[in-house]
């Protein structure tokens, strides 16, 4: 029993990290370049392989073979630690996200722990340490400014990030992420009240605070993953690359890929919390046969991919916020909106006990 648990867990970890997440990370870099090119009426990388599909492999080879340069003035220990800290939390967070129903009776989540969302927040906010340490250890003013910006950006956005999801857990009653998905299967997706029993008026009323928390959470995830319009820590035009200015070779690549891994994790969390996880109306779960288990996993990653496209799309549409605008937005608007939203959701839940 114990051995089979360890074996399936290891299999899931290796499968999800090496077969899904890491290829997705490198191909989201490719997608970013292609989509940005298309949005700007360019062509983008199309030379390596069919339609440029081998470009990520070529990029990785290039980055691995480059000189790994360590400037003399840096604090060596933290300078080496920072890239790992940027990449790791993003990958660890995926452990609690249910990416499928069951496959051959094995639940498709690496660690189904009962503090699910707290774990996600605790680990995901560690990612900022990578950036702050990189900025500080580089002993250079541009990375330092990037690190400072990142830390203050984080404290202004983590609040609304945490507050935005409270309505969901008021409704679900558990912090376990599989429970959130199960609730959405039974009662319809949180931001799509027309799925499931759509005649229930409480659902339509609840969809209002859910939509608000979806927007706030999504924007906070944008800030959390340092994506435009909130990519102040790496602002190329102002900070010459921000916190990773002094990095080269694979250490730089780790920052770069860490950003995309964080994006994928963020998208996976959004999908789990608001978009019904691996559920799609009309498709049964894995207990009806392994083919449905595979389809559930495919549905989950299709949703994640659609959100990733949205992330990229927003990046190439909106300009960067000025620093004071970002702080004002975080502290004066989203914090208050999230707070009021909690009360609104609580009142609706109190009047329509499910």
């Amino acid at each position: 029993m114990e051995y089979s648990l360890i074996f399936t867990s290891l299999l899931k970890i290796f499968g999800i990290i090496f077969l899904v997440i890491l290829p997705m990370v490198s191909y989201s870099v490719y997608a970013e370049r292609r989509v940005s090119a298309f949005i700007q009426d360019r062509v983008g990388p199309n030379r390596v392989g069919p339609a440029g599909l081998f470009q990520p492999i070529a990029d990785v080879l290039k980055l691995l073979l480059k000189e790994d340069f360590t400037p003399s003035g840096v604090n060596k220990f933290y300078y080496w630690l920072a890239p790992c800290l940027a990449m790791m939390p993003a990958i660890i967070t995926i452990a609690v996200v249910p990416f499928g129903s069951t496959l051959f009776g094995v639940p498709m989540v690496i660690a189904d722990i009962n503090v699910g969302i707290l774990y996600v927040f605790a680990i995901a906010s560690l990612g900022v340490y990578g950036i702050v340490l990189a900025g500080w250890a580089s002993n250079s003013k541009y990375p330092f400014l990037g690190g400072v910006r990142s830390s203050s950006q984080m404290i202004s956005y983590e609040l609304s990030l945490g507050l935005a999801v409270i309505p969901i857990f008021l409704l679900v009653g558990q912090l376990r992420l599989t429970a959130v998905v199960q609730y959405q299967i039974e009662h319809g997706w949180f931001i799509a009240p027309f799925i499931g029993d759509w005649t229930n008026p409480a659902k339509w009323l609840l969809a209002i605070p859910m939509l608000v928390s979806f927007l706030v959470f999504m924007i906070a995830i944008f800030a959390e993953t340092n994506r435009l319009p909130f990519d102040l820590p790496e602002a190329e035009q102002e900070l010459a690359g921000g916190y990773h200015t002094e990095y080269s070779s694979m250490k730089f690549a780790l920052f770069f890929l860490g950003e995309y891994a964080a994006m994928i994790t963020g998208a996976a969390v959004i999908v789990t919390l608001f978009l019904g996880g691996w559920h799609f109306p009309g498709i049964p779960d894995g207990s009806r046969g392994w083919i449905f288990g595979l389809i559930n996993i495919a549905v989950f990653f299709a949703k994640v991919t659609a959100l990733l496209f949205f992330f990229i799309w927003v990046r190439w549409t909106l300009p960067r916020f000025r620093y004071d605008q970002l702080m004002r937005l975080g502290w004066l608007f989203f914090f208050e909106i999230a707070l009021v939203n909690i009360f609104l959701a609580a009142i609706i839940i109190a009047y329509f006990p499910t």
């Binding site: 090119a37 949005i39 009426d41 062509v43 799309w313 549409t317």
Partner: protein, 176 residues
């Protein structure tokens, strides 16, 4: 004196910014869609498509020597182009044509005519200065090589690029 730029006064709908963000997203999505469906055509993918047919008549490509209708190299080795050439890319070794030759009265011809294409700046002054209309800038633009020696166009190469030009200057005809 400070200059005050008046800020636009926004109504509540504009102050929400969300409609503007949505319309911006729709603009970029339109560009993405048009590109995906192949409706936008901006980039020329160079080695597959070439701009040759679009080059204007005044295009200045690689300089080349030409022969006239009789097959004689038009150049008379006057060395004006060598003298005018701003980057000094042209090197000419003049030779003498014997009296008995059909074109004996031309007197000189280039034994060697080298243009260093690493130095050439495609300014076209050699073409302008040539009294014989013997050197022309053609439409060849992709001049490449692996070594410096390969990049020096000698007389044969220049004539190969140039070809035959049926020009208006016929002053060396034997009848005149």
């Amino acid at each position: 004196m400070a200059l005050y730029v008046p800020r636009p006064i926004l109504n509540w709908r504009e102050r929400m910014y969300l409609p503007a963000i949505v319309s911006g997203l729709l603009i970029t999505l339109t560009h993405f869609k048009n590109m995906l469906l192949g409706r936008t055509k901006v980039t020329m993918e160079y080695p597959e498509e070439k701009p040759d047919s679009m080059l204007p008549d005044y295009y200045r490509g690689a300089p080349a020597l030409v022969r006239d209708a009789d097959g004689r190299v038009r150049c008379v080795a006057c060395q004006l182009c060598e003298f005018i050439c701003p980057p000094r890319a042209i090197k000419i070794a003049p030779g003498e044509i014997p009296r008995t030759d059909r074109f004996g009265k031309v007197e000189k011809y280039p034994e060697e005519f080298d243009i260093d294409m690493i130095r050439c700046i495609f300014c076209g002054m050699c073409e302008e200065v040539c009294p014989e209309q013997a050197i022309f800038l053609r439409k060849d633009y992709a001049i490449t090589g692996f070594t410096r020696e390969e990049m020096v166009h000698d007389k044969d190469k220049l004539l190969e690029i140039g070809g035959v030009m049926h020009g208006v200057v016929l002053k060396w005809n034997e009848k005149k």
